[in-house]
């Protein structure tokens, strides 16, 4: 019996100790009519050998592609050590560290994680992870609304990832929070500052993405200052890798953003079809009691030695129940552990070099693609590591054709930003070489030139 250690003799001895005649009898408090027998849609079990073959055949069916899609999930080099350590049984198969003395390893790593993220964002406190970047943004919006106590309107630029905006809406809608979208400049790709001023009524918070979904760097100082001038809280939504190069939220404008959230995936999480990744939330000290989720603190043990523990739990659902800052319980602990190891291996120089490579490679890619007849770069703003290109015809069939050449050519913007026409969002991280870019460009050029009908 897979994973069940019991022998027949043991089962008999155990039943005797219980005083039951059979295992069946242990279910006698369950009304008869609830006992189900038909589970026909579930196949019978297979040995590990067969499972591994099945799964590796499925994996191989999904092949190997040269990937130029970013759009919120980025292909980065992950040092081999990261997952060889993170999947060690002690980290992999532990629960949330409720018993501090039995979990100092996990707790210390999470404290180090919080420290790294706080320093990267230039803010004072950080939690031990949220589900992902999109839901973290929703939590930030709710935290800001709670902290403000009155206004329930939050401004969110349209230059924020469309799926993030969907997710925020889905999560905050039932609490009566109103999301107002801000337009972006069709020329620079950054949020139009005029859009801010046209926003009406009391505002709880304003979200500023850095970089935004188009890869463009936003005027975060101006947005933050405007936000504070209007008595609202400024929420930075950041790609944490970009923070190796760009000004951290804690330093935006005169006073700094109040909260920073983002998707942690660029730090050690494989693309893996969309998850698991992790969200993070950092904030000013004053907002710590609005923070959702686990927080690890450093303290001492009975002998006075440094020790770590979950803390400020009075914010959380298991203590505060209906009054908690969030319902989150299980978070993305292992991803935070992997991120910590990843960051320790990269260090400040590795992180900066990686970010610079991403910028340079995407710039090179955009230059090269814009040289293809009929293509042009869409936005003029300074960018991190994505670029929008206008194509002379519909994007989807082009991407499919590239797919047949084992190239993932970017993300089609036409559904979410119809006003941009045939627009393609591309990204070349540090994993891409000059040859990769040349291969992509050549394939695209050939496709656009050759098969006029595609």
């Amino acid at each position: 019996m897979p994973f069940i250690p019991h022998t027949d003799a043991e089962v008999r001895a155990m039943l005797a100790a219980i005083g039951a005649a059979s295992i069946e009898e242990l279910f006698d408090e369950i009304p008869r009519e609830l006992h189900a027998e038909n589970f026909a849609a579930i196949p019978e079990g297979v040995p590990e050998m067969a499972l591994m073959r099945l799964m590796s055949e499925r994996a191989r069916a999904d092949g190997h592609y040269l990937n130029f899609i970013g759009a919120g999930a980025y292909e980065h080099h992950i040092p081999a050590a990261v997952w060889q350590i993170a999947t060690r049984g002690e980290f992999y198969s532990a629960y949330t560290p409720y018993q501090a003395e039995a979990s100092q390893g996990t707790l210390q790593v999470l404290y180090e994680f919080q420290s790294m993220m706080a320093s990267l964002t230039g803010l004072e406190v950080c939690n031990a992870s949220l589900y992902d970047g999109a839901s973290a943004l929703a939590e930030a919006v709710l935290a800001a609304v709670r902290a403000q106590g009155g206004a329930r309107r939050v401004l969110v630029p349209r230059s924020v990832h469309p799926f993030y905006r969907d997710c925020v809406r889905a999560i905050v809608r039932n609490q009566g929070v109103e999301i107002v979208e801000l337009e972006y400049s069709r020329e620079t790709g950054a949020t139009a500052l005029e859009a801010l001023s046209s926003a009406k009524g009391a505002i709880a918070a304003v979200v500023a993405p850095q970089p935004n979904f188009f890869g463009v760097l936003e005027p975060v100082d101006e947005i933050t200052d405007w936000t504070h001038a209007h008595g609202a809280l400024a929420i930075g939504l950041v790609n944490p890798l970009a923070l190796a190069l760009v000004k951290p939220p804690g330093e935006w404008g005169g006073a700094g953003a109040d909260i920073a959230v983002g998707e942690g995936q660029p730090f050690g999480a494989p693309l893996s079809g969309g998850g698991p990744y992790f969200g993070f939330m950092c904030a000013r000290q004053a907002l710590v009691r609005q923070m959702p989720g686990r927080i690890v603190g450093r303290t001492v043990d009975a002998a006075g030695s440094p020790a770590f523990t979950l803390t400020l739990q009075a914010r959380e659902q298991h203590i505060r129940r209906a009054k908690a800052t969030s319902n989150i319980c299980t978070n993305q602990g292992l991803m935070a552990i992997a991120a910590t190891i990843h960051l320790a291996l990269l260090g400040p120089s590795g992180l900066e070099r990686t970010a610079a490579c991403c910028r340079a490679n995407t710039a090179a890619l955009a230059r090269r693609l814009a040289a293809i007849p009929g293509l042009r770069r869409r936005f003029s703003g300074a960018a991190f590591h994505e670029a929008v290109l206008s194509l002379p015809r519909a994007v989807a069939p082009v991407l499919e054709a590239l797919g047949r050449e084992r190239i993932l050519g970017g993300f089609d913007l036409s559904r979410h930003y119809p006003e941009l026409g045939h627009a393609l969002l591309v990204c070349a991280t540090e994993t891409k070489t000059g040859d990769d870019i040349a291969r992509f460009a050549a394939a695209l050029e050939r496709l656009l030139a050759g098969e006029k009908s595609c």
Partner: protein, 482 residues
């Protein structure tokens, strides 16, 4: 020692540096970072050694018995990890078009089908990223359902007093108010109290069954009738599905929506706190509201389904596909066990809990619900021991660490004083259970002979008892340099 304290300015893991970057226009000065972040500067070996040694300071299923009630700490098959970490799965971009990911999508589709059958539900969405997000999705669907019928007044969620904290917190997250219903001395919902609570404002009731009291709510059909008759819907918190998987379908008990904790019932790793996965299954009337994306059939293959397929969806709960890699692990687990193996989970989880309960009773410990069968877990109360010796449930929990056992859940559910909620799970052997009984027996004896020994425990862990009060009073949440 913190990794930062091992840091030396200028040190680096040389093999991790990418090649020197090519040209790019310099960033505008006002957007540029001025001070480098406080990241450690260490060699690759420094980092490997530091984190390897830290890992050794952590109890886990792979090293210890971990009978943490309500958390289902069972063996996490290593094959599931290997299968999900196939390079091609890891490399898959979530926005790559569906044709390029039929293997991945196939696994997810089949997992949807398996979960439908296990729960008896009509449709399943895999996207919620943990139990609590599944709960949120469920309550949001309930509200969307009432609203779609023009019944906007239904904003009350009823939960039993014993409910897990996420249930009331979810009610609030969903913009509902929470009403609590009592349980009786045998752990059953007080039906009279329930009848008095329901009404035109009732959106629904959230329930785990077996409950967090470790007993099966045998009056569940009546509970369902009361709520349904009042116009409310029933939400099944699947955190305890391990007790009845493959034996009882939540739909048959009258539930309209269910979430499963794959990181419990399906043995995906807990990872020191996550990632998990909390898929939701629904009865037909809630299907239009499921969170997206779903995986749908498309000819011989599969495709994503989104708001174009489900215009009434409550929406997206994550940027992409929830914790996709966790779903792969759960799929692997389901295939390894199959139909009969999944049913065996409930059988042996229940056998282990009832055996442990019987033996602990024999060892002189006091049960919270002595007249009931254990489900996959049960509660003992140490109130008498505390009154007699001053040794609390927390002290006993800490002393268990010295005996090489992770402590059970303590002080939850809140209504049982000095309680330990004990869940052995099906993957532990009789020998391990017997060892646990012996350990508790020893600790009880120690509490009488030398209470200070227990009150000052643990003695053999990497640190002694941690000062949690100081942690909360003087929060030190991030290192800021030496």
């Amino acid at each position: 020692m913190l990794i930062f304290e091992r840091s030396v300015p200028g040190r680096a893991s040389g093999a991790q540096l990418p090649p020197a970057p090519g040209d790019a226009a310099p960033l505008p000065e006002r957007l540029r970072r001025q001070r480098a972040p406080l990241l450690p500067e260490v060699s690759e070996m420094d980092a490997v050694r530091h984190y390897t040694r830290l890992s050794q300071m952590t109890f886990s299923i792979d090293t210890h018995f971990y009978p943490l009630g309500s958390c289902t700490m069972k063996y996490t098959p290593r094959a599931a990890n290997a299968a999900a970490m196939a390079p091609e799965f890891l490399a898959r971009h979530p926005l790559a078009h569906a044709e390029t990911g039929q293997g991945f999508l196939g696994c997810l589709f089949e997992l949807q089908e398996i979960l439908k059958d296990l729960t008896g539900m009509a449709a399943v969405s895999l996207s919620p990223m943990a139990g609590a997000q599944g709960e949120f999705a469920g309550v949001a669907m309930i509200r969307a359902y009432h609203r779609a019928r023009g019944d906007a007044a239904r904003t009350e969620i009823i939960v039993p007093d014993a409910a897990h904290g996420t249930n009331p917190a979810t009610a609030t997250m969903s913009g509902c108010s929470m009403r609590e219903v009592r349980t009786d001395r045998d752990g059953r919902i007080d039906l009279e109290a329930l009848r008095a609570l329901v009404g035109a404002r009732t959106a629904g009731l959230m329930l785990t069954n077996p409950s967090t009291l470790g007993v099966f709510e045998s009056g569940i059909k009546e509970v369902a009738r009361i709520v349904h008759d009042a116009g409310g819907l029933l939400y099944y918190d699947g955190a305890n599905l391990n007790a009845i998987i493959g034996r009882v379908k939540p739909r048959d008990m009258g539930f309209d929506v269910v979430h499963l904790n794959l990181h419990k019932t399906f043995a995906t790793p807990h990872g020191g706190g996550g990632p998990g996965a909390g898929p939701v299954g629904v009865a037909p009337r809630l299907a239009p509201f499921l969170p997206i994306p779903l995986v749908a059939r498309a000819g011989e293959g599969y495709r994503w389904a989104d708001e174009r397929d489900l215009p009434q969806t409550i929406g997206r709960l994550s940027a992409f596909m929830g914790n996709a890699g966790v779903l792969l692990r759960a799929y692997a687990y389901a295939r390894l066990l199959g139909r009969s193996g999944l049913r065996r989970v409930a059988d042996y989880a229940t056998l282990n809990a009832n055996y442990l309960m019987a033996e602990l009773l024999r060892a002189g410990l006091e049960l919270a619900y002595p007249r009931r069968r254990a489900s996959h877990e049960f509660i003992i109360t140490l109130k008498k021991l505390r009154d007699e010796t001053g040794v609390s449930a927390l002290d006993v929990a800490k002393r268990l660490l010295d005996k090489g056992v992770h402590a059970p859940t303590v002080y939850f559910p809140l209504l049982v004083p000095e309680c330990l909620l004990i869940e052995p799970t099906e993957t532990e052997s009789k020998q391990t259970l017997d060892h646990f009984v012996g350990a508790l027996r020893e600790i009880a004896a120690e509490a009488r002979a030398d209470p200070q020994l227990v009150k000052s425990a643990p003695h053999s862990t990497p640190v002694r008892r941690v000062d949690e009060v100081r942690a909360a009073r003087e929060p030190d949440l991030a290192w800021r340099g030496a």
